[in-house]
Amino acid sequence: MKVDHALRALDGILRREMLRSLRQRARLFSAMVRPLVWLAIFAAGFRSVLGLSITPPYQTYVLYEVYVVPGLAAMMLLFHAMASSLAMVYDREMGSMRLLLTAPLPRWYLLAARLLASVIVGLPLVYLFLFVARFWDVRPPIMGYVAVLPALVLSGLMLGAFGLLVSSMSTQMENFAGVMNFVIFPMFFASTALYPIWRLAEAGPVLATIAAWNPFSSAVELIRFALYLRFDMVSMLVVVACLAAFFLAAVAGYDPGRGLWSRRGGEG
């Protein structure tokens, strides 16, 4: 694989993702509105009923809005990853995935490029949300917006790799409703995105254990700590390990010798 060829392909994939994203305005709009609805309505309601003790990285009592913003940023990445995964299944059904997979580059590289492009396209919206959240008095240190970038990229890559894995196992778009109900929503709700783990432990130890082992919780905590200029080593290790595992499994899923495609019939 030549470096200039690989970079041009990455550039092409990134441009395509950006153009598609900009032209699907309804998707862009809903991606921005979703966390704001959570922040404006859900968080406002929970603020009065949910007390929060001092938990790291916060050094004082915080409003529920302050607690929930990193979780909502991670939620944006999660839903963006799933939308990207759905787009891959759509591309496969519509045939355009064939074009990518018959490019003269290693398949792992093509999938990695697509994953990276998807994360890069999703990041500006997360930043826009973080800045809009300042109107709700969620004001992390200014340097926190810089420090959170690697955490957002790593978390986005991990969730994107998970979406890639899901897309490699989905035979048709209709299956995605099941994925949303049985994978994405439990992943989001059984995490530390909306409630701290001690609150979940009060509800039940099983739920707290699930949340502790949920890689999405690690993504949330990595973002939360980075936003307040703290580093959560355990969360980072979990995110990196899950990224590697999900990506390797996705590459195997798209392998022509082992993947779903080679076991399933063609058109004729």
Partner: protein, 241 residues
């Protein structure tokens, strides 16, 4: 040299055998028609040639490069038009072509020049800035062929490219590809079930239920089988009415 050589290729989906010991060659600069009814295994064969499926039994060689051993080098020599449309409908015709060029490592300047050149050759340059969702079926097919030619392939694979086109559209597309074959010396493998797409100076491979039942120059198929036309020969070989 052969542009494409298929040697004892077999493939199955679970217990369903789709291709059995398929062998044939496509010579450099020749137009080869892969003739078969629906379900004969043409699309599976294309998927194996392009590496979408892994060939466990048999070999695919593109200009003497084994697809299984060096897929990137083999794919760099190929231009492919799949049976299903593969254009990105959110992008313009030009953007679709430049995306393909980027995947093949072409620099931006060359990619822009070549996209205009190929679209002009296929008489769709006036639609370069239109989103492909606004193009007719025939125009989309031409854009797909233009895209497949962007990186200067020496072997062009077309899987039922005229499906869904009207008769004038089919004839025009066929003529464009024949011109390419003659002018640029590109080898073409054209899969179809339309018998009228076979010309006397083509090579023909007849595929039926996953097996090659005849391969050779088109003008020899009827005399060798003792019938009057390609259509009669095809009916005889495949048992179709």
């Amino acid at each position: 040299m052969n542009a494409l050589a298929i040697e004892n290729l077999s493939h199955s989906f679970g217990t369903r055998q789709v291709l059995q010991n398929v062998s044939f060659t496509v010579a450099e600069g020749r137009m080869c028609i892969l003739l078969g009814r629906n379900g004969a295994g043409k699309t599976t064969l294309f998927s194996l040639i392009t590496g979408l499926y892994y060939a466990r039994t048999g070999l695919v060689r593109v200009f003497d490069m084994a697809m299984q051993a060096n897929p990137s080098a083999a794919l760099a020599q190929m231009g492919v038009v799949f049976q299903l449309p593969t254009l990105d409908l959110d992008l313009t015709a030009g953007e679709n072509l430049r995306y393909h060029a980027a995947l093949h490592g072409l620099p931006t300047k060359l990619s822009k020049a070549r996209s205009r050149e190929e679209l002009s050759r296929l008489e769709v340059l006036d639609r370069i800035d239109d989103r492909t969702c606004a193009l007719s079926g025939g125009q989309r097919r031409r854009v797909e062929i233009a895209r497949a030619l962007m990186h200067g392939p020496r072997l062009l694979l077309l899987d039922e490219p005229t499906t869904g086109l009207d008769v004038p559209g089919r004839r025009a597309l066929e003529q464009h590809v024949r011109d390419l074959c003659r002018e640029r010396g590109i080898a073409v493998l054209w899969a179809t079930h339309f018998l009228e797409e076979v010309a006397a100076d083509d090579d023909v491979v007849v595929l039926d239920r996953g097996r090659v039942c005849w391969a050779g120059p088109a003008d020899r198929i009827a005399p060798e089988l003792g019938v009057g036309s390609v259509a009669e020969a095809f009916a005889l070989l495949t048992g179709s009415p």
